[in-house]
């Protein structure tokens, strides 16, 4: 029967999501555990260190603001790589990865925006200004929302994947803009002092909690991302089986 021949040709592909599920099942508990440990250490460090003589207590906001901001960009970068995977290799997992990363990215971007705002009020005296860094992050947030909406708007998942992939790649131009906006336009916002070519320009006192928190946030992201990918695979599997069931039922009639 034609169906079977097709099924066989697909079999090598089939191994893929299944293997991913097996891997995920083993990795998730470990990742979750290490994330929790890192957060505990990070939180302890960030409240144990001294306040800055200039910024006072508010420097502690940095320990979540900066990791969240980094992750919002990293998440988009991961989506872009996945998008290339979708378009070039047509790898089914690439699409799942891009799709499930979008809500996480939106969450981290929101976190960066809100904590930035909360920091801005005491430091700059205003919640919000339309400077380059802030605006480009805001645009990143809009883009995450737009991509989520776009994915919902197309009901054929493989088509949705390819279309959003194109858009993700086009939107990637925003990432360098975020990163370098503080250098290209002189703005209120702090310029890079950690991720610099000539080494960090921050007191190690602040650097330590920052790094621990950054690692914690990154691990959190990966844990959630793998979980979300697993959910998405399950969702598609359920949809495929439902369809099959519906067809079987209508055939027996």
């Amino acid at each position: 029967m034609s169906e079977t021949s097709l099924a066989i040709s697909k079999f090598s592909d089939l191994a893929n999501p299944t293997r991913f599920l097996a891997l995920a099942a083993r990795a998730i508990p470990w990742l979750a555990g290490i994330t929790a440990l890192c957060f505990a250490a990070g939180l302890y460090l960030s409240f144990a260190t001294e306040g800055d003589y200039q910024q006072g207590e508010t420097v502690r906001i940095m320990y979540i603001h900066v990791p969240a901001a980094w992750l919002s960009m990293m998440c988009y970068t991961i989506m872009s790589i996945s998008a290339i995977g979708t378009l070039v290799w047509r790898h089914p997992l690439a699409d799942v990865s891009a799709k499930s990363a979008a809500p996480l990215g939106a969450a981290f971007t929101l976190l960066a925006l809100v904590t930035g705002s909360l920091w801005g009020k005491p430091m700059w005296g205003t919640w919000w200004v339309w400077d380059a860094r802030l605006t480009s992050v805001f645009i990143l947030f809009l883009m995450y929302l737009g991509l989520i909406a776009l994915n919902r708007a197309i009901d054929d998942p493989s088509k949705a994947a390819r279309v959003s992939a194109v858009l993700i790649l086009v939107g990637f131009v925003n990432i360098p803009i975020i990163k370098f906006s503080v250098e290209w336009w002189n703005t209120l916002h702090q310029s890079a002092s950690v991720m610099r070519l000539d080494g960090p320009a921050i007191d190690p006192e602040f650097l330590r909690p920052l790094f621990v928190m950054a690692i914690a946030f990154t691990l959190l992201f990966f844990t959630l991302h793998i979980m979300a990918m697993r959910n998405e695979i399950w969702r598609r599997r359920i949809a495929a089986q439902r369809r099959l069931a519906a067809r079987m039922a209508s055939r027996e009639e």
Binding site: T18, I61, A68, T115, L118, L224, N231, W234, R237
Partner: protein, 55 residues
């Protein structure tokens, strides 16, 4: 307002967002797993599982 307010608000909000996202992902996973189980119970199996049964 004191600076502590901003600090705690930030940490509070961060906790809120991370916990919400984590819970949502987890709950989603549970719902999916339950759906899979109910499908399985209804006798619809994965193709690979079926072939293993020697169908």
């Amino acid at each position: 307002m004191t600076h502590a307010f901003y600090v705690y608000a930030s940490y509070g909000f961060a906790a809120l967002v991370t916990v919400a996202v984590t819970l949502w992902t987890w709950a989603d996973g549970r719902a999916r797993r339950r759906e899979l189980a109910s499908l399985e119970a209804a006798g619809i199996r994965r193709r690979s599982a079926r072939t293993r049964d020697g169908e």
